[in-house]
């Protein structure tokens, strides 16, 4: 369990992080969502120890994070790159060795990763001769070479070709399945929605919402309902206590509290057959728009 506790950080006049707290559970994939400049990169850099917080702390399983913990994190910074003139395998192995691996272990791990990423045949080519997609795959190898037991990935999908995206997805899932805490940020809300167990939404340096994806959906979609029936449903708009009615397909979406919604269903059943009824979950994009308002 990776925990960020009351972390604040200021750059000159700008408060980049303001009393930020959230946890990344072991074995859970946590999506970190926010607009540009919201504080995601700063928070990740503080977890990795590249930046120091003005106040607050980062803990691992309840104790302060130390150098060894940080070394076991696989980190992909938002602004990333490799030495253009170094050979791919040589470079990935070098980064593994910097992380503390022996030469042999680093080379073995590099060979395995490049193979998995399907760029093994480019091992001895300089990075600058690779296509952008292949450079990104080399970048993934660089983040994973030291066999991390936790992942912190800043915009891991940006700039990746579709195969790269699938690889990162499978890596994230494998890591979480193995019990590692996984934190990643992305602008692609649909990807986040599909992948993550937990969510942290940040805006202007403050955490606006945090928790499991399903809880957040329930919390933010508590009074939305969807009712489908082949018959006429235009009467729903004029029912007492019902607001925001929208026609959608063969049914309607509407807002109402729980007893009112039950009343609506009863009337619908009396009027004719009902094909479906249930709470309407908002999409992540809707939740995001609502909490950062």
């Amino acid at each position: 369990m990776l925990q960020v506790d009351h972390v604040s950080r200021r750059f000159g006049e700008r408060q980049a992080l303001d009393d930020v707290s959230f946890g990344v559970g072991s074995g859970r994939i946590t999506g970190f969502v926010g607009a540009n400049g919201a504080g995601k990169t700063t928070a990740m850099r503080i977890i990795l120890g590249v930046l120091t917080p003005d106040s607050g702390s980062v803990t691992v399983d309840g104790r302060p994070i130390d150098a060894d913990d940080r070394h076991s994190i696989g980190y992909m910074p938002e602004e990333r790159g490799l030495y253009p003139k170094m050979k791919v395998a040589e470079q990935v192995a070098y980064l593994g060795m910097l992380h503390g691996m022996s030469k042999k272990a680093a080379e073995d791990s590099t060979a395995r990763l490049l193979d998995r990423l399907a760029i093994a045949e480019r091992s001895n080519d300089a990075v600058e001769t690779l296509s952008l997609g292949n450079q990104q795959r080399a970048q993934i190898a660089a983040a994973l070479v030291h066999e991390p037991t936790a992942l912190v990935l800043d915009e891991p999908f940006s700039g990746l070709d579709p195969i790269g995206v699938e690889t990162v997805l499978s890596v994230l899932r494998d890591a979480a399945a193995g019990g590692a805490p996984v934190l990643f940020s992305s602008h692609q809300l649909d990807v986040v929605e599909r992948l993550c167990d937990d969510l942290v939404i940040i805006a202007d340096g403050q955490v606006r919402a945090a928790g499991s994806r399903d809880d957040l959906r329930a919390e933010h979609g508590g009074d939305s309902w969807r009712l489908s029936a082949p018959g006429d449903l235009s009467w729903v708009a004029s029912a007492a206590g019902v607001t925001g009615v929208e026609a959608e397909g063969d049914g309607v979406l509407f807002h109402a509290d729980y007893p009112t919604a039950q009343e609506v269903v009863r009337r619908a059943v009396e009027a004719g057959p009902v094909t479906s009824f249930g709470p309407q979950h908002p999409s992540l994009a809707q939740i995001f728009a609502e909490v950062v308002k």
């Binding site: 994190i73 990333r80 030495y83 003139k85 070098y94 060795m97 910097l98």
Partner: protein, 360 residues
Amino acid sequence: MTARSVPSAAWLVARREVTMRLRSKAFLVSTGILLLAVLAGIVIGGIVSATASDPTVAAVGTAQAAADRATGLEVRHVDSVAEARVLVKKGTVDAAIVPSTKTPLGYEVIADSSPPESVIAQLSVTPPVTLLDPPSQNGLLTYLVALGFGLVFFVSSITFGSTIAQSVIEEKQTRVVEILMTAIPVRALLAGKVLGNSILAFAQIAAIALLTVGGLLATGQTSVIGLIGPALIWFVVFFAFGFILLAALFSAAASLVSRQEDAAAVTTPLTMLVMVPYLLVILFNDNALVLGIMSYVPFSAPVGMPMRIFLGTAEWWEPILSLVILLISTLLVIILGARIYSNSLLRMGGRVKLKDALAR
């Protein structure tokens, strides 16, 4: 897996710096050219000094006595004026001394295209001269040694200073730096870069020193080795530490910018700084006061102190004191440089203000 210690991480970084540099053709070619230039200087010096032996003259008849009297002449006795003229024309001798009734001296000098100054000097009577403050070293040699120390210091500092600046900016520009910073402490990264480039610079200087000594031995200029040997050894020692200081300055300055195009803006003041000792030693290699100050100021000590040792004007303890001053300043600069470096590495885009880089 545990984190690497700072020295072990720094050593890995240093090794990468050295390997990548040795793989660069531009580096190998420029080093080759520098070494060839040094070798050429020694060989040309050797040829010039070898031909500076006593001039040979052909002497005929009654003029032979005058030629034999002069001390610095290689005299060849020939039978006729015609024969002497042929030898002069062929260049076998520098001049001929032949009998003449036209002058009270009783002989005249025949030369090819210009009056043979060295021969005339030997035949002339000069008054004895007493110097109150005789120079301890020959003036031309002093100038050449000053030029040599100054130039080698200047060229090596600029070459490796810009190399380390480029290497720092490359890591920022390619954005690899953040990955490096999460793998090892920033001070290990800085130490490794300074160490790697200092090893290269030191190896180059040592190669030049060895080549100089070897070249002088091979061309038989052994007396010169005795004259410049101690100064040369001190130069190498001073340069080793002086370069570490410069390398720390260059890397701190380079970390302020994020693009190679902006490198010149931050390294120019440092380039000026290393140009100063070079100019001073050439202009003031006979000025005791200027050399005295130079030999203690950390930037110019690698040139100033060896120069004074060569001239024999430094007491035995002076190079040691100067070296201690240099070591302390190097240490301070490294601490300051590390601060600027670690504060600037993640600031991409425009140039970081020095004030901001020193804060926190």
